[in-house]
Symmetry: C2
Subunit: 232 residues, 2 copies
DNA sequence: GTCAACAAAAATATTTATATTTTTTATTTT
DNA sequence: AAAATAAAAAATATAAATATTTTTGTTGAC
């Protein structure tokens, strides 16, 4: 067994391109690379110790995700975002996630229910546990994502789920920003509980109402955070 | 003025990467590169006379569009598609395009109306004109796209339009396939007229009904075409 | 002296060519 | 027939070359 195949087992990352994609994505979503910032090849090569080829491939993929903008003969920049973007993505997420949820609920089996309950409790433990610092933020984001994914997991449409995931991930950029700034005045935990209960009751109409309200509340929080930062 | 800047005015294409992206995309959507086909770098280099760098960047972008699949250390393949995909994309397009239309109509001004009328008539001219061969197919696709885009053009949400455009373009792969195989038994022209009239009447509810039926009919035609080809 | 136009230089992006690694295929051995 | 090995093909990554854009500095006009 070769050294590389051993390494692979850990991260399950086959190519340098993929690694570049993951690293860049994380740094953009987390804000380490600021919106509008120029992504100079030379700088990135030093930062990640990766050649320009894989880096350019990664940025090309990120351009497809609208996280990077290609300027054409003038390089790449981190995609900017505005209050308007936050609103639009929120509305779109509302439309798509409510639809996915309504298709997921009638198809949900016991495993689906258990997954919802499990992910909910993990999230609950973190939320009601002892206050922790910034390191808990990434963990919360991860568990929150897992919970929302569990809810729609029984939706049979791959394309709908794909679109939902895209919007959700985009919203992550905004969520992270807002959680850095604002105290969590919202009762997110209660919202999540209501969401879980409606889903397990197989009440499609109620689930849709709750998810829409939930996403609206998130979007509003995000918009306030952006405004307080003075970002246009 | 240099040679390259002169060339640029014509096609408005700045980099080789972009050209590779356009060429590959066209060949995949048109079916010249068949679903499931392996995209070997060497073959593509001969085909387009473009180096591996730009080709890989183009394929990375196409992977973001889900038109190409990255195998990781084993190259790229043209994304496969199934009847299931056609159905899902059709349903999603229905959801998103109806929403975009309902936001576009209340915002539509005179220019919006005129654009709809213009694009409709261009389409009408082609559809009612003398029968032509395969070369008219690409033109029809272009005009059909322009008409549908005109309808939603007044929608204020960039992200919604972006998502709609993505689904529409994906549907193109299927539309082209179906139009190659089936006689146009449907009264597409009549459907388009009904669509235009409902939009110009600013009747949101009716427009949504009509667009949904229209997309459903397209999806059904596409599915029949795929089935008759024996593609799973 | 300030501004604009221009030219040279530097920085940067892009592409091609080369080297390396990995996968696939063919062959041989057990 | 299955496993192991060797050869070929292919993909990936690096490094070098090329082309473009941006910056800087200079000149000349006002």
């Amino acid at each position: 067994m070769s050294k590389t195949s051993l390494m692979r087992e850990a991260g399950e990352e086959k190519t340098t391109s993929e690694r570049a994609y993951r690293l860049l994505r994380e740094d953009i979503v987390s804000g380490a690379l600021a919106p509008g910032q120029k992504l100079k090849i030379e700088m990135l090569r030093n930062r990640y110790d990766i050649g320009s080829g894989p880096l350019r491939e990664a940025m090309s993929r990120l351009a497809g995700d609208h996280l990077v903008q290609i300027l054409g003969q003038r390089g790449f920049v981190v995609a900017d975002f505005t209050v308007q973007d936050a609103r639009e993505i929120g509305d779109l997420r509302k439309l798509v996630e409510a639809e996915a949820l309504s298709l997921s609920i009638p198809n949900g089996d016991t495993a689906w229910e258990e997954r919802i309950i499990t992910t909910f409790h993990r999230l609950e433990r973190l939320e009601t546990g002892p206050e922790r610092g910034v390191e808990a933020l990434a963990e919360w984001e991860q568990l929150n994502g897992a919970f929302h994914e569990a809810l729609v997991a029984a939706c049979p449409s791959v394309w709908l789920l794909r679109t939902r995931a895209g919007m959700f991930k985009h919203h992550e950029r905004f969520r992270r920003l807002s959680r850095l700034r604002t105290v969590l005045t919202r009762d997110i935990h209660g919202e999540h509980r209501a969401l879980m209960e409606a889903a397990l009751d197989k009440d499609v109409a109620k689930s849709q109402r709750v998810i829409r309200t939930h996403i609206e509340a998130t979007t509003e929080a995000v918009i306030n955070a952006i405004k307080s930062l003075g970002v246009s």
